[in-house]
């Protein structure tokens, strides 16, 4: 008999699951809400929202500990999990089987998107003062290019799907939902939650447009 604390497998899997929601998922919700402020214009966005965040003490530490490390673990371990997948989408055309595949595919997609997104905003902002000082303008410039808008939209939808579907399977993994009915009901709740988040995110993206 192996004690679950002696064998890290279970705790790592659960940690991966938990980090996906807290703090990574929670940060996504916050991030989408924060950027939905774009509709109030550059002055409000740059002056109130971004400045408030940039003015926080220990910001880099918070960013690293609350966002970057959990995200990196979630992504890295997620890739490890994904190697176990042998999905046969045409043989088993069930919704959950597609969601199972999409969860993993979206994870990889999000990883690519985030490298670009973080590179073009947070990292670029480190040495380009203009990005730091007028993030609104920077985003407006980016999103005005249709292909870039498409990239961001894809990244947004993948992220929102990944969070909503992840939440629904978390219900099973952690034992919140057991019966097929409960799992279906919670699935709809998560789908609604995902749609709401997508709407907030899209609203924020449109808010940047001139």
């Amino acid at each position: 008999m192996r004690h679950s604390t002696a064998d890290p497998h279970f705790l790592l899997r659960r940690l991966h699951s938990l980090l996906g929601l807290l703090p990574v998922g929670a940060f996504l919700i916050f991030h989408l809400w924060e950027n939905s402020q774009s509709r109030f214009g550059a002055a409000h966005y740059n002056g109130e929202v971004v400045a408030f965040l940039q003015g926080m003490n220990y910001l880099p530490i918070l960013e690293i500990v609350i966002i970057a490390l959990p995200l990196l673990f979630h992504a890295g371990y997620g890739l490890v999990i994904t190697t176990q997948m042998r999905a046969e989408l045409t043989r088993y055309r069930y919704v959950r089987n597609w969601l199972y595949w999409l969860q993993r595919a979206s994870g990889i997609g999000i990883l690519v998107f985030l490298l670009l997104h973080v590179g073009m905003t947070r990292i670029e902002g480190i040495w380009r003062v203009s990005v730091r000082e007028d993030l609104f303008g920077h985003m407006q410039h980016l999103l005005s290019q249709p292909w870039m808008f498409g990239l961001y939209l894809t990244g947004l939808l993948l992220s929102v799907f990944h969070l909503a579907n992840g939440l629904s399977t978390m219900g099973i993994v952690w034992g919140l939902t057991t019966s097929a009915d409960a799992q279906r009901r919670f699935g709809f709740v998560c789908a609604g939650f995902g749609l709401l988040l997508a709407a907030i995110g899209l609203h924020g993206m449109i808010g940047f447009l001139p």
Partner: protein, 252 residues
């Protein structure tokens, strides 16, 4: 079902031995409305001549009860894992494509080695610890009818392996124990004396290849010929392992 059928056609994936290359052969037998895949394979076995007129070795496959309780005869029929005894010819599109149950090593033709199912049951300790198979002169604990009817669903698992074949996480590439053994943990943990060893069984499925390797694709529950609520069992084990982990971490 088309009325003008005159023959039953099969396309069968064959393999002479483990490791030897698979190949396809086609067979046709005279049509009859009351055939299932096994009875039709028996006709092929009597006279194993391919549609090209070539006499070949009889097709090797596994069967026993032919009533869908022994679990022997599962194979991939038109791409879906299912018992062949209950696969009625009239409900299948032709040519009927037969392949060995995937994810398990092929022994020969449609016969596969499913010993991994047994290993899984051993690993999760899917039994009730009893002192011995003798009389104890005492009645066993009571079980309410509603609890019974939930348990009974799981006790009908016949280790056919269909759920494992359909599971995208299970296979030679992974340690995942699969839904069949997990459902037995759910069953044993629900028994009044089986509960005594719940922690042992949970620890057995909290390691590598355990319940957390499930990816929730839920194909298992869709292909199970006995409609066993495998995903409910996995959800319930999620709950039990959550509690167990809290006990392990903070319980002393």
């Amino acid at each position: 079902m088309p009325a003008n059928r005159t023959s039953i056609r099969f396309k069968i994936r064959r393999q002479d031995a483990p490791g030897s290359p698979p190949y396809w052969q086609e067979f046709a037998i005279p049509y009859a409305p009351d055939h299932n895949v096994i009875s039709a394979l028996m006709v092929v076995q009597n006279n194993p001549v391919t549609t090209d007129g070539q006499r070949v070795a009889p097709v090797v496959w596994d069967r026993n009860c032919m009533e869908e309780v022994c679990g022997s005869c599962a194979m991939l029929i038109n791409g879906v894992p299912r018992p062949s005894c209950s696969a009625l010819i009239d409900s299948l599109t032709q040519p009927i494509v037969l392949e060995p149950l995937p994810k398990f090593p092929v022994v020969r033709d449609l016969l596969v080695d499913r010993s991994r199912i047994d290993e899984g049951l051993r690993k999760v300790r899917a039994w009730i610890e009893i002192d011995g198979a003798w009389d104890t002169h005492e009645g066993a604990p009571r079980i309410s009818p509603s609890e019974w009817s939930a348990n009974y669903l799981y006790s009908r698992c016949m280790s056919c392996g269909c759920c494992l074949s359909a599971c995208p996480q299970f296979g030679p590439h992974s340690d995942f124990i699969g839904p069949a053994a997990l459902a037995q943990v759910r069953l044993m943990n629900a028994h009044p004396t089986g509960r005594y060893d719940q922690a042992d069984r949970l620890h057995a499925i909290m390691g590598d290849g355990g319940v957390s390797d499930c990816g929730n694709a839920q194909n298992c529950v869709r292909v199970c010929p006995k409609s066993i609520p495998l995903t409910t069992a996995i959800g319930e084990l999620g709950r039990q392992t959550t509690v167990q982990a809290v006990k392990d971490l903070f319980g002393g």
